[in-house]
Every structure is written in structure tokens, then in C-alpha cells.
Amino acid sequence: MLDPDAELVRRIGEGDARAADLLVRRHLPRMTALGRRMLSNAAEAEDMAQEVFLRVWKMAPQWREGEAKFETWMHRVALNLCYDRLRRRREVNDPDAGMTSVDPAQSAPDAILARQRASAVRTALDALPERQRAAIVLCHFQELSNIDAAVALEVSVEALESLLARGRRALKAALSERAGDLMGGVGDGAV
């Protein structure tokens, strides 16, 4: 299996600063995006992403190219870190931990509408059970293959599809109140 990151990881393991820079530019936005969708908190997402790369620096010297892709491993690390943070929130019963600040830059009517739509989707995503949310974040937003997503989630592909189907059903139900605005007249498929 061709791993697009294998060469960079090898060079990072040898102390190559330029390779580290390239890997960060390639994956940091994806790690923070994953964190934002799982944690609904930009600051926590950034902290989580930094922790992922701390693991990357630590483990790169030992990485051996083979069956698993490095990016899949990074997603596994990121998800586990997210689960940790979500568990800690529950333990301290922090109702505001997941609040995402509103972007003050958007004030035009179209921007307000976009923000409202985004807020509705985020609320629906946040309401999903963690595993369903993770499955949808990995497959829909991160666009991992089904096999890579299943590995990152530590489930079979069949179990992944079950999580995805249930998650998507729940999202559809949650967004149905705004169906005319969010989902109506969109079209009949994307083939």
C-alpha cells in the first residue's frame, strides 16, 4: 500500500526540519478540523492537534511503512485524544465546555444565514453519540476511506457502516425542522 506520508515520516525520524514543516502543513488543518467537529471548541481542537503532533515527533523514528498508513494512525491518535477530552468534560460536568464562540466578523445578512445554517448542523452533529459522530467526521468530513476509518475507529467495516447509517438517520431527523432551508431543493443525488 502506497503511503503518501511515508517518506516525510522517515525524514522526520532522521531529524529533518523541512519534512516536519511539510507534514504539519499537510495534516494540521485536518487535525484541527476533526477536533473542532468532535469537541465543538476551537481552542481545545488546537490543543488536541498539538498533542497529536507531539506523538508524531515521538513516534516518527520508529515508524515502519507497511500495512497501516501514517495518516490513519494520526486519526486514531486524534480520536483517542478527543474521547479523553469528552470524558473529562462529563466527569467535571461542564455544560459550557463545548460552546463554540460566534465569529464576530460575519454580520451581513447572507453571512448571518450561513452562520445559522452552520449552527443548526453543528448542533445536530454535537447531539450524536460520540462513535456515530466520529464515524461521520472521519468518512464525510475527513473523507477517509471506509477501510481507513474503520481502522481508526477500531471497528469492522460493517460496524462502521452501521454507525454511519444510524448517524446519518439521526442527523436527517434533527435537521428535518429546517429541511426547507437546509435540505430542500438540493437535487436528486450527486452521480
Binding site: G13, G15, A17, R18, A20, V24, P29, T32, A33, R36, A42, A45, E46, F53, R55, W57, K58, M59, P61, Q62, W63, R64, E65, G66, E67, A68, W73, R76, N80, A114, R117, A118, A120, R122, C139, H140, F141, E143, S145, N146, I147, E154, L160, E161, L164, A165, R168, R169, L171, K172, L175, A179, L182, M183, V186, G187, D188, G189, A190, V191
Partner: protein
Amino acid sequence: MELSDRNSGAMTRDRMEEILAAYGAKPARWPEAERASAQTWAAENAADFAAMAGEAGALDAALAFDVRETADDEALAQRVLATRGDNVVAGDFGRRRAANDWWRPAAALAACAVLGLAIGFTGAPRNDDMAMDLDAAFGAAFEMPAAGFADGAGG
């Protein structure tokens, strides 16, 4: 329920429904092994597919409203790179000077930690940070140090 024989590449209506329910209407998100047969089925059963895919496509479009780009990736990238431990100067991309062999002590310590945790990583408690990342799926992807590290390596 009629299921496709995924190995033979034959797509069925029931499997098409499952794919749409799980992955949505965008073929790029469909399982790679079944994508071609699914697209063929969709093309050969266009009206049926359109009826089936409508809701999936609508949900895909709704999810697209959720845009979460990071506002200041550059600053975060610099903070992340600074954690490598080499001599990084903020804003000094392209002119960074890597410390000589800075990573060797860190790698040795990491290897000790990996081995110390990996010995028990199968079935280790979920709050064991490194063990969570190094289960059977990835354990083979990281080289284990020589046996001399085994005793007293700790974590």
C-alpha cells in the same frame, strides 16, 4: 435482504441503498472496492437511483454548511513545530537550523516508553495514552527496540 457479492463486483439495489445510507450520494465517499460497480448500477438505473439518492444528497448538502476552517493555521503551525525540540525560531520557516541528532535521546526514551507500554498494550486500559494508539492495528507499524531495552525500560 438481497446483498451484493462484493467480491464479484455485482451491485444490487439493496447494497446501493446501504451505500447511500452510510456514505451519502457522493461517489468519492463510496467504498473504493465497490465504487465502479455502484456507479455503473446508478447509470443503468438512473431513475431508480435518483429517487434513492435524493435524501442522501440533501443531507450531504446540509452538512456542507458546516465549515470549520481554522482561523490562524500559521500561528498554530509554528507552535506545533516548536514542540519538536530543535532550534526553531518563530517565523523562521525555511531557515530553521536543526540541532544535531536532537532526536536520538528523545527517540530512545520514546522507544523505552513504547516497549514498556507495548508489552501490555493488548487489552491495556483505555486511559493508557500510548497503548490506545498502538493496538494490534498499529503495533507492527512501529519498530520495537532490541531485547536489551526490555528490563527496566519502564514507561
